[in-house]
């Protein structure tokens, strides 16, 4: 369990993280979302005592800096290519293992796990971003920790790699681990995350499950097809939009109410389907007021 309380960080006049509090539960993948400049990376750095700021983060009740071997409890990767270009992947991990009370042989195990066994003796200066991400994940898993904190781990991965990452993180969460992962890939996050923490301009926008976030920040609509669309349109109280193919898109009510209305008025329906908005739509709605960098129209 990660408990974040009143995190605060200021760069001069600019507030990067503003009184941010949330919890990350074990057994779930928690997505950490926000527009560019929202303060996600800064928050993660504050949580890991890499940056100095206000507030407190507890990992199972303890501060990061008080744990003798944090890698055995918290695996964290905040930058993809944080390694010396001429130190082999294996030696990079062995170095971290040496300072963390972890057996050197564990380096080979995690390299096998992330699919980098064949390049373990290679210098990582020639690694692609995807390979660097895999090495980062190997680093995070080195101490077999109960908590993982990953900043944009899917960046640079190909579709197979993203699918693999999703499976790995979900299986780690299923083992009861606490997983906090930030990503800009919202479609991926909708498949991977159980819970969301969404921030904008350093402030909390939402914490809860993914469905709740979508429901809260979008209006779901109902798609209706009927041979008597004109009669149904006259009866519907919500906003009705006539689509090009003759279907109706109804907002402001739900499928049950529309079905009952049609039944009571002897109107035959050939299709009645609730259309839920995507995580991306919800994200854009939720964060549009907190966009730090907004481009002009093309």
């Amino acid at each position: 369990m990660i408990s974040v309380t009143a995190l605060h960080k200021r760069y001069g006049d600019k507030i990067a993280v503003d009184d941010l509090s949330f919890e990350v539960r074990p057994g779930t993948v928690t997505g950490f979302l926000g527009p560019n400049g929202a303060g996600k990376s800064t928050t993660m750095r504050l949580m890991l005592d890499l940056d100095h700021g206000g507030g407190e983060t507890l990992f199972d009740g303890r501060r990061f800096a008080t744990i003798r071997h944090p890698m055995a409890e918290i695996g964290a990767v905040l930058e993809a290519k944080a390694f010396h270009p001429t130190r082999t992947a294996r030696n990079h991990l062995r170095m971290l293992a040496a300072g963390s009370g972890i057996a050197a042989a564990r380096a080979d195990e995690v390299l096998e796990l992330v699919g980098l066994s064949d390049v373990r003796h290679r210098k990582p200066q020639g690694f692609s971003l995807g390979m660097a991400q895999r090495l980062g994940l190997a680093q995070a898993l080195l101490g077999d920790p109960g908590t993982l904190i990953l900043d944009e781990p899917a960046n640079g991965l190909d579709p197979h790699g993203i699918h693999w990452l999703r499976d790995v993180l979900r299986s780690l969460a299923a083992e009861g681990r606490t997983v906090l992962v930030s990503s800009h890939l919202l479609s991926e996050m909708s498949l991977m995350a159980d819970e969301l923490v969404v921030i904008g301009r350093g402030r909390m926008i939402y914490q809860g499950d993914v469905d709740g976030f979508v429901r809260r920040f979008t209006d779901s609509t109902v798609l209706v097809r009927s041979p008597h669309a004109d009669r149904l349109t006259a009866l519907l109280r919500g906003s009705v939009e006539l689509l090009a193919d003759g279907a109706l898109r109804v907002s402001g009510t739900d499928a049950g109410a529309i079905g009952e209305l049609a039944y009571r008025n002897d109107i035959m329906l050939t299709e009645l389907a609730t259309q839920t908005a995507s995580l991306e739509s919800a994200f854009i709605t939720a964060t549009e007021a907190d966009e730090e960098y907004v481009g002009g129209a093309a």
């Binding site: 750095r45 800096a65 944090p70 409890e73 030696n91 062995r94 300072g99």
Partner: protein
């Protein structure tokens, strides 16, 4: 759940980390090799050049210590100081400070390890280098007079102290600058340009007031640890007091490094 961090245990972890870090960098071996080889070649050339006359003890001291006080900077010590510069500077150049601090979040312990391990390597390499130089000179001359008498007996430990101080200084400077180039430039420019210029200016009447201050120039004072009893135009403290001047300068820079490392964001 692992135990809570306590000082000595955390320092032990940091020392293990730093020892593996320094061993797994190819540049460490290049720099160690360069330091030993450079001094050995200098010793060989100097010994050959003087093999037709009996070696003076002061000259023996100069050969053992890579030129002694007759060079403005100890060349091998500069190579070894680069190991220190890389110990901290590379962490920022390549972003490895983040994984380092997520493994070892106690910054004082990590910095202490980064000061101690390269300094220990320097101590060993400097001792080996003197032994190699002695072997080279012995092979050429067939004798090594004055090895156990003044001033050589004091210049040899002085050389070890000087090497360690240079390495600690390199580590600390790169930590202050959070990078390699600035630290290396400062390590070379100050002793070779700034201090030499001040020494030369002190001979000009308008700048004669600089004369008494020269004994406090850190690198010049540090170089006096290799004093071999010759006369000097510059009025310096004695060997160990001069070493103290350099050590105080190094301590100030270490203090700045510790302050910035513990207070700034990583």
């Amino acid at each position: 759940m692992s135990e809570l961090a306590s000082g000595p245990l955390v320092l032990t972890d940091a020392l293990r980390f730093e020892w593996v870090r320094i061993r797994t960098l190819r540049s460490t071996y290049w720099l160690v090799g360069a330091a030993v080889l450079l001094n050995a070649v200098l010793a060989l050339v100097a010994a050959y050049g003087t093999q037709d006359r009996p070696p003076a003890p002061a000259f023996v001291g100069a050969i053992l210590t890579g030129g002694g006080p007759f060079v403005p900077i100890p060349l091998a010590a500069v190579c070894l100081a680069a190991i220190g510069v890389f110990a901290t500077g590379h962490e920022y150049r390549y972003g490895t400070i983040q994984p380092a601090l997520t493994a070892l979040p106690r910054r004082s312990a990590l910095l202490a390890a980064k000061l101690v391990v390269p300094a220990a390597v320097t101590l060993v390499v400097a001792a080996v280098s003197m032994a190699v130089n002695a072997a080279v000179a012995l092979a050429v001359w067939g004798e090594l007079p004055g090895l156990t008498s003044w001033p050589v007996d004091e210049a040899m430990p002085g050389y070890l102290v000087l090497g360690v101080l240079w390495t600690v200084l390199g580590t600390a400077l790169a930590q202050v600058f959070r990078g390699v180039p600035s630290a290396l430039v400062l390590l070379l420019v100050v002793p070779l340009v700034v201090e030499q210029l001040m020494a030369q200016l002190s001979y000009v009447d308008q700048f004669a007031w600089l004369g008494p201050a020269l004994k406090f120039l850190p690198f010049m004072a540090g170089q006096h640890l290799l004093d071999l009893g010759g006369t000097s135009d510059v009025d310096l403290f004695g060997r160990w007091a001069s070493g103290g001047v350099f050590a105080v300068f190094v301590a100030v820079v270490v203090g700045a490094a510790w302050t910035t490392f513990t207070r700034r964001d990583a």
